[in-house]
């Protein structure tokens, strides 16, 4: 009989269950086991444990893994450009911000702190969009949807089409994105491609071309609006032009007689376009499709979160996003309606913190009302993103909220807000209410326009009003407070409060 030490035995049993013993060793062990039932019992436990461990519970698979990874890799490769704070010419960036705020009795002043803070906040959103799980908003569009978008600038946000994204433009190249409840709007005509083809007298071959045109733009629309798991939205700047581009491309494919019919059709459905160049013959399909750029020419997105809005350059891996959409039907038509409602509710809440920034020649404004919120994006496109837009002229009325407004700062009161940043002026309004008392920082400043800057700290029964200051006056370095200290102070204040404020995000970094 073989005599084994405990350590030898452990080692041999381990090798045995891994199938690493040779036949002679195996036979020797089996002989030993027959004489030692307690060891045989131990072996049984080890074998069963190995078997169970081999079927160890697995992590649920992550369908988004590659998409998220590829975007992170892409973003690491691309030097992200913050067009608000980095790309403007130095002369343009010489904007004065003088901020005085009181947080928990802390009094500080420093333009750069706020600048840095808002920049970081925007970058945070940008990073979240770049590296977090993002979802294309329009994943299940039909050609009918694309045609409706082309003619009326509206895209359904939910399957019942109760909520819509409305894209508007005016002559001054201002774009407006409005998320609205459809039932609050006058009933619009819902058109179909078949109805359109019949009305315009489109032949079978042409219908195929029109389907292809709509399909091509559908692919672009799929990635024009992205939403993140953190309720942030990124809207590609080309979305505002795409509706016109679709109509124009369709017009290019029509013969002169069909163009006349198309104009009649536009009038009948009250689509806001006028066809021009009626006599031009139909463009060859090959040339027509060459005119549609295969990929976006810019990487600029309007980004919106519950407390930040801005314009950012983001290089997304759109093919990966499309891949996910096409390969995983379960992700289609996600419930984004709720997200928009949440966002609208947050945005028009008077207690909420708001940051908006922009830079010349871009300007972004967000205006929340009780029923919807609007994103106004004024931009001079760097290039005409789509060829062939000369075929039509938009007849769309200028947006009500934009028409006739003087240039400059606008504030719509506490239930709504407008934030602007231009080359020569900046405006920031931050409203925050702490459970311990109202805290409010309101900062609207422009050297040129001489607006006001005001800090109220009602919980301390203290109001400080500070007028415009000369930007050449440099704040003393020793009085500067690091932004982290400021934020920590703010957090302390919140922690002291009986109940946490749900709108405290602005001061959380």
């Amino acid at each position: 009989m073989v005599q084994l030490t405990q350590k030898d035995l452990e080692r041999i049993l381990s090798l045995y269950i891994d199938g690493e013993l040779d036949p002679i060793e195996t036979a020797t062990l089996q002989e030993y086991l027959a004489a030692h039932p307690s060891v045989a019992r131990d072996l049984e436990i080890l074998q069963s444990a190995k078997k169970t461990i081999s079927k160890k519970r697995q992590m649920p698979s992550n369908e988004w893994f590659w998409l998220k990874l590829s975007n992170t890799i892409e973003s690491n490769k691309t030097k992200r450009k913050n067009i608000f704070f980095h790309s403007s010419a130095p002369s343009v960036v010489l904007i004065s911000i003088l901020v005085v705020a009181v947080i928990g009795g802390v009094y500080f002043k420093n333009t750069n702190l706020f600048r840095k803070f808002f920049e970081e906040k925007k970058n945070q959103v940008q990073n979240s969009l770049m590296t977090g799980n993002i979802l294309p908003l329009f994943t299940n569009l039909t050609n009918d949807d694309v045609l409706n978008f082309a003619l009326f600038g509206k895209l359904p946000l939910d399957s019942s089409k109760e909520t819509e994204l409305q894209v508007k433009n005016d002559e001054n190249k201002r774009s407006q994105y409005e998320i609205v409840n459809a039932f609050n709007r006058p009933s619009a005509v819902n058109i179909t491609v078949s109805d359109f083809c019949q009305s315009v007298g489109v032949e079978q071959v042409q219908k195929g071309i029109i389907d292809s045109i709509l399909g091509t733009y559908k692919k672009r629309l799929q990635t024009a609006v992205l939403v993140s798991e953190n309720k942030e939205i990124a809207i590609h700047e080309e979305l505002a032009q795409m509706n016109k581009a679709v109509v124009s491309t369709i017009v290019s494919s029509l013969e002169p007689v069909q163009k006349i019919k198309f104009q009649k059709y536009l009038n009948r459905v009250h689509a806001p376009y006028t066809v021009i160049a009626f006599n031009a013959p139909a463009v060859e399909p090959k040339i027509l499709f060459e005119r549609i750029p295969g990929a976006s020419r810019t990487n600029r997105y309007v980004i919106v979160s519950k407390d930040t809005i801005g314009i950012a350059e983001m290089k997304m891996n759109l093919d990966s996003i499309r891949d996910v959409v096409n390969n995983h039907a379960m992700y289609r038509r996600v419930a984004t309606e709720r997200m928009f409602k949440d966002l609208a509710e947050i945005q028009h809440g008077s207690e909420h913190s708001i940051t908006v920034a922009g830079s010349n020649p871009n300007r972004v404004r967000l205006h929340a009302t009780d029923n919807a919120f609007q994103i106004n994006f004024e931009s001079v496109p760097p290039v005409n993103n789509f060829d062939g837009v000369e075929n039509i002229r938009p007849r769309i009325e200028s947006s009500v909220s934009l028409t006739g407004e003087p240039q400059g700062i606008k504030v719509f009161g506490d239930s709504a807000f407008v934030m602007e940043m231009q080359a020569d002026k900046e405006m920031i309004k931050v409203l925050k209410k702490l459970p311990s008392g109202e805290f409010r920082v309101e900062f609207i400043d422009s050297l040129r326009h001489s607006p006001r800057m005001k800090v109220l700290f009602k919980s301390a029964k203290k109001q400080i009003t500070i007028g415009e200051k000369n930007r050449s006056v440099k704040p003393k370095q020793e009085k500067l407070i690091d932004i982290d200290s400021l934020l920590n102070e703010s957090k302390k204040q919140e922690l002291k409060s009986a109940e946490p404020s749900k709108n405290s995000k602005l001061f959380e970094m």
Partner: protein, 201 residues
């Protein structure tokens, strides 16, 4: 003929999804960065599960797995084919996980103590089960999590991933004899934890 040339000839006509790891890496090193996707998709679940085995927390898995693959993406141009891709990947995974563990231990000393205590309580509160009981998985996982990492990892690599002793030694940067003795010791410890929890029949 060089190794790279052999790989290219053998895999030239295959779709990327079926090419060997080495062939994909060769393509990657020659500028075709898009093939990285196939490597990720081939191993992402293995890496995620290995992280889960180490931390036993779902929350950390995806973030850490992303970091690992970013590191792999950055290091792949310098990969020298001295070991197989997946042992190299596992080594990176384990090293990154250990880094993360160290960070956590520093930052969350008390929390870790709490976790240890909680784990102990869970073990103590488990009712004895038979091997054919559906709760046996829970009992064994909890017991496995009780083992120190140096004994737990070889067991996971051997029993879950089915690796050979040589591969485990390569990943853990130790001798094969060390792997064998850690497996043996780890299993004995596991048996000692499990024995009182198992019904005698």
């Amino acid at each position: 003929m060089t190794k790279t040339a052999v790989i290219n000839i053998q895999n030239a006509n295959l779709p990327n999804s079926q090419k060997s790891d080495d062939a994909l890496i060769t393509l990657f090193q020659n500028g075709d960065k898009a093939v990285f996707r196939y490597l990720v998709e081939r191993y992402q679940e293995k890496v995620r599960n290995l992280i889960f085995s180490i931390f036993n927390e779902q929350d950390i898995v995806d973030d850490l797995a992303q970091e690992i693959f970013i590191k792999v993406f950055e290091a792949l141009p310098k990969f020298r084919f001295e070991s197989s891709f997946y042992t190299w990947l596992y080594r990176i995974t384990i090293n990154k996980s250990r880094d993360e563990m160290r960070k956590r231990k520093v930052k969350r000393f008390f929390t870790f103590h709490h976790i240890e205590q909680t784990s102990k309580i869970i073990i103590e509160n488990l009712s004895p089960v038979a091997f054919d009981d559906e709760n046996i998985h829970e009992v064994i996982e909890e017991s496995l999590n009780k083992l120190p990492e140096k004994y737990r990892l070889p067991i996971v690599l051997k029993d879950v991933d089915g690796m050979s002793y040589d591969e485990i030694a390569d990943i853990l940067k130790c001798e094969v004899g060390t792997v064998k003795s850690r497996l043996s010791r780890g299993r004995t410890m596991l048996k000692e934890i499990l024995s009182p929890l198992l019904l005698q029949n």
